[in-house]
Symmetry: C2
Subunit: 331 residues, 2 copies
């Protein structure tokens, strides 16, 4: 591979002034006074976190989304990122060029969408699957970051958007299972595929979150699992009502067609939603609804913060579902 070509042709146009024209092997960033920085790093491995052989724009935006979603959960605004790419050696020179073009286009789309730039990074070759990693830098006004540790007794639990669509989209992308073969309309399939392929990190919700959320986590590994992370960091319990977890019409039809409770649990315990789960004082509910409405975002109350340090999920008949069934563990 021509690393020089990759850097100068495809990456240099994406770099901000902090990237020093990518000539310095390091970025120089001057923080504004009165701001805190949020730093987050997430990696994707071919065949595990994205589909084998998909080295293009979709994978680039997935890498952006998983990291941006972490920033969104903190109430941060992204300013830049460092990108590390290990390109597979087996790619022919012409294929590599084509993928580099597509991948960098995906990066640019997300940069333009949310207004941040490339700071730097590094590039290597690997005998193994493609592996990509990004470190994102975000900013929040000093002391205003939303952590996982702030949930208070009696807080409402909220979730943005709908849950489980991306999980069904992944099923479709891999190998359509029996349960998706009959019934769903073309439109339903489209909803799921879009949710999986183009997750929207909820960055625009940051002002409301910073003001009213007591704790927040992004939903990358399933709603109930993330509830567990807030529970652990806040040393509280999160009690969620399965029936209140917001579903798209497509997913709702899928759930009610058969084995409704099991299917709802399936959607609440699988990943890739990139929605936000947050807690807030009940008296702030109106502000939260107004803030969400301003950016056309649906938000739904799904439970309450209670005593303990665990996750409880109330089934469709009001019964407590056993934790193992929720795929939830403290790990």
């Amino acid at each position: 591979m021509d690393e020089f070509d990759w850097i100068q042709t495809y990456l240099a146009p994406l770099a901000g002034p902090e990237g020093l024209k990518l000539l310095d092997d390091a970025a120089l960033y001057t923080p504004s006074d009165g701001q805190d920085l949020i730093l987050t790093q997430d990696s994707l491995i071919e065949g595990i976190h994205f589909l084998q052989g998909e080295y293009g724009a979709g994978t680039a935006s997935r890498l952006m989304a998983v990291n941006l979603s972490d920033l969104a959960a903190k109430g941060a605004r992204p300013v830049g990122y460092l990108l590390s790419v290990a390109w597979p050696k087996h790619l022919s020179s012409s294929d590599l060029k084509r993928w580099m073009h597509a991948f960098s286009k995906g990066l640019k789309t997300e940069q333009d969408r949310f207004g941040f730039s490339l700071f730097g990074g590094d590039t290597v070759k690997t005998e193994g699957p493609m592996s990509i990693s990004a470190t994102f830098i975000g900013v929040v006004p000093r002391g205003k970051a939303v952590l996982r540790s702030g949930a208070q007794l009696g807080d409402d639990i909220w979730v943005t958007g709908t849950i489980g669509d991306a999980y069904l989209g992944l099923q479709l992308a891999q190998k359509t299972p029996e349960t998706l073969k009959h019934g769903p309309s073309r439109e339903d399939l489209w909803v799921w595929e879009e949710a999986f392929r183009h997750p929207t990190p909820r960055l625009l919700f940051r002002k409301t979150l910073r003001r009213y959320a007591t704790a927040c986590a992004d939903i990358s590994d399933g709603l109930l699992s993330e509830a567990g992370h807030i529970a652990k960091a806040s040393q509280k319990s999160l009690s969620v009502k399965l029936a209140d977890i917001p579903l798209s019409n497509a997913s709702l039809k899928w759930c009610t067609a058969k084995a409704e409770e099991a299917r709802r649990v399936e959607l609440a315990t699988n990943g890739d939603d990139y929605e936000l789960l947050f807690t807030a004082r009940p008296e702030d509910a109106g502000h939260i609804l107004t803030g969400a409405d301003k950016i056309n975002l649906a938000v739904t109350r799904v439970g309450k913060v209670t005593e303990g340090e665990s996750v409880h999920c109330q089934g469709l008949k009001g019964q407590q579902l056993p934790l193992q069934k929720l795929g939830y563990s403290h790990n």
Copy 2:
């Protein structure tokens, strides 16, 4: 692999307050007023950047060293890092535990040595070779970072330490070549192995660099290649005298034993030195020598900054060596 165990048992003790106990998937860093941040990211792939099957302390410190050396070149002090590790799936549970222990011990050694802490990161599994990546955050007083772009006509070119020992150390670690089979004493071999296995990022030299260096790069890919990076970023030529490049006694003996010029070129064009190459005004030579002496660091003048945008190397008989021979290209 038990990711929870890796994070809680081995990584959490390495985290600073910025790491939020590694419970938040992101770090919160409050920059001091009046400081600039330097951000750098470097990755290592098993079998390419470190020896196959070496998942322990040595590999951890190599990852630290390559990143810290980038900070050193900017005159920065390290404050923290995010670590991304892809552990190979083929490792048995007990082997994995053993390697995790050794790897985290290597991280701790470097943290204690230079005074910085773990901010966060992520962990995945891979079917391929181990791949590890770190993003380092360093600080410099505002406006005091040393870039590659500041070399001025007439500046001296300096280098820290000795060049080429790590390259010979790598040769020994891989498969001892003919040229290293006869002649070198046990002590010579030790010098080379140490240079390869325990490179010392020149972080302690930062005050002198910030004050007197006009440009600086760390030597990861060979002295003449790094000279090319400064030449390109500064739009000047760097004219280096082969005879003046500092060598250890061990390497000097190796060079003078046979084909001296070719061997000196070999040492100046291969990597892993992690010394610094920098430029400075001739009138500051005294200050530079004093600053280096205070931290017991050898510094040597190896050439001059001249007109052009290239690298020139003067051979042992005063002749210009052709660039191809130097393994140097603008890429």
